[in-house]
């Protein structure tokens, strides 16, 4: 089965450090999402790309978060500087505009100490 691959699976970092999370969407999928999952807030949409162009990043703290798709096989989510409140599981998901039903990666569990 085709999979969305996220790296790293786990990341522990100190407050103030830069964190980069990577996502390889399924080949042929033209839509990529970044979600954040916490106990308090549940699943929150951070960013949304279609054909590599950002369509919505309104859920993302602009001062410290950035999301990019340098090419069709890679999506990145960066946090600089990281803060303890950023501790969460970050999921990437991909899909197509023709076939709804997005495929999620296994997530990156981020702990900021």
């Amino acid at each position: 089965d085709a999979r969305v691959t996220q790296t790293p699976r786990h990341k522990v970092t100190e407050m103030g450090q830069e964190v980069t999370m990577r996502c390889q969407p399924i080949l042929g999928h033209n839509t990529v999402f970044w979600y954040r999952q916490t106990m308090m807030q549940g699943l929150e949409l951070l960013a949304y790309f279609r054909n590599r162009a950002p369509l919505d990043d309104s859920g993302m703290p602009k001062d410290r978060f950035s999301a990019e798709m340098p090419d069709a096989t890679l999506a990145t989510l960066k946090i600089q500087p990281s803060e303890p409140r950023d501790s969460a599981v970050y999921f990437c998901a991909s899909g197509t505009t023709e076939n709804y039903g997005y495929t999620f990666g296994s997530g990156t569990r981020l702990t900021v100490v």
């Binding site: 549940g42 699943l43 998901a93 899909g95 990666g105």
Partner: protein, 116 residues
């Protein structure tokens, strides 16, 4: 406001018993509806989806859901659960079907606990 509500945070049930997980949405326009399952330390897996057509949708692992437009509901059901169904279940809605602007909004999740 467009939202998805899962009223039950946790549903305990015995093995082989039927179960229903409730989901309601709030929207003035038509939506696409989804159910996802999340096992511990894993990502979300699509169980089933309603886009159009028959209001009864069958998914994987023996689950099904019924879309009820008048009730704005999309409840998930399974006639006989297994221990392995223990997981977190998320209802989600895409409110952008008319604009093509896909944006899944998730409910807060329901933890299904199946005991022997």
């Amino acid at each position: 406001a467009q939202s998805v509500t899962q009223l039950d945070s946790q549903v305990p049930v015995f093995e082989e018993a039927p179960v229903e997980l409730r989901c309601n949405y709030s929207s003035s326009v038509s939506v696409y509806l989804f159910w996802y399952v999340q096992y511990p330390n894993q990502g979300l897996q699509l169980l089933l989806k309603y886009l159009s057509g028959s209001t009864l949708v069958k998914g994987i692992n023996g689950f099904e859901a019924e879309f009820n437009k008048s009730q704005t509901s999309f409840h998930l059901r399974k006639p006989s659960v297994h221990i392995s169904d223990t997981a977190e279940y998320f209802c989600a809605a895409d409110f952008g079907r008319h604009t093509g602007f896909q944006k899944l909004v998730f409910g807060t999740g329901t933890r299904l606990l199946v005991s022997p």
